[in-house]
Symmetry: C2
Subunit: 227 residues, 2 copies
DNA sequence: CATTGTGAAGATCTTCACAGCG
DNA sequence: CGCTGTGAAGATCTTCACAATG
């Protein structure tokens, strides 16, 4: 329902396929790594290997961004890195609140990979009043009643939910009411949100279950020969 | 390359589509929730709503498992839950080792959602000798030199990597050498593993980047009208 | 007769293979 | 010549819409 791509100026527009969007951060990471080794130029073959995809897919993905390569040569590492970062929005500053400061919330608040990609954690929030004031790194825990205030103060558009499942919907409602329009949900719950709000869900136990499914298949071959 | 589905006995065989496999745990969770509320029977419409998908997709997905519904009525909650659990392998006992006991590794080791789905964490492992013996819950940290021994002792087929990115490949090699055939990788690194070993990757910062991409698009509409 | 199960149509994603170009 | 960029083919996934049926 999109696909109005590349126009006059060569810059793309609307409608980078979701599958491509999901891989751009991987390419970005790979380019950053290659750049740190001093490499100046990279072929689609090399970059694809570093990113763990095949080169046709990589070239197709990059073609949605524009024509940033040089035929016969490859891509300029730094230039491509910049273009992808701009496309994703990672060279902006994103204020993030984390709600639910259990083990996972703490792990997330300490995760170095956020800061280096433009995500700045501006507040830690919990519903348990007895934990208010507790420091994690240089951030104190606030009570969830302060959510509106904190979101407004930091112009925060992204919220991370790391609460138990049964608290997640209420937290999501509060986030939406406070003006947050993107939610990363670690809680085991399906969230209902209004149009215009994006939710992405990470479920640790689902990933393990998918592995288990395949593991089980490795172990029980031959089950198919029994009509 | 698969699609040899449903045979004589009605039981499916090989080739449940990946997209379906990835949703089965979601249905399982939804069914467990519905079951706890006392619901005995559920229509595809209701279950789809609880799982956050549309009902046509749900029915198509379930059809790959067999014909477990009753026309005009719906699905028996408990029976369907059992069938999905069996299909995924969640009613088995899966021994899991976690390598890298930083914030994330600790969060994972405490995560209740694993145990209840048949995943039993049998060992915590770290490369830092000074942390050996440290207790987390009822498990001590072992040094990575003990990996082979621990994997063998617990007949462990799944490993979780929660180390920094630069240690991940070496850890993966060790896991494979020890006999682990499924790896859940939280480290920011693309892992090379032999055929027959499955790797799934969870990258927390990638999820945030995907949100940022869409968030950016919400804010800058109209960029497309400038040839 | 409400609801499942499913062919068929449509959408999206991947891969191929090669024309185009530096 | 080497490598990108991309139409076109192929694979997979989603949705439609309705026949089958308990």
């Amino acid at each position: 329902m999109n696909q109005l791509r590349a126009q006059a100026n060569g810059r793309p527009v609307l409608g980078i396929p979701e599958a491509t969007v999901a891989r751009l951060p991987v390419y970005l990471r790979a380019l950053t790594g290659l750049g740190e080794t001093g490499m100046r130029t990279v072929s689609s073959e090399q970059l694809a290997a570093a990113a763990g995809v095949n080169s046709a897919k990589l070239r197709k993905d990059l073609s949605y961004l524009g024509s940033y390569g040089t035929r016969g040569v490859g891509y300029d590492v730094e230039y491509l890195r910049y273009q992808i970062a701009r496309e994703i929005g990672v060279n902006q500053d994103w204020a993030v609140v984390i709600i639910g400061i259990g083990n996972l919330g703490q792990a997330l608040s300490n995760y170095g990979g956020f800061r280096s990609r433009g995500f700045r954690i501006v507040a830690l929030i919990d519903g348990d009043r007895s934990r208010v004031g507790e420091m994690h790194g240089d951030l104190p825990i606030h009570h969830i009643e302060k959510l509106d205030e904190l979101v407004a103060e930091h112009a925060c558009s992204i919220g991370v939910i790391a609460t138990p499942g049964d608290a997640a919907q209420e937290v999501a409602d509060r986030l939406v009411a406070a003006g947050v329009t993107s939610i990363l949900n670690f809680a085991p719950a399906v969230l209902a949100v209004p149009d215009g709000v994006d939710v992405r869900k990470v479920d640790l136990s689902i990933e393990l279950q998918i592995l288990a499914y395949h593991e089980q298949r490795k172990r029980a071959p031959g089950e198919e020969v029994q009509a």
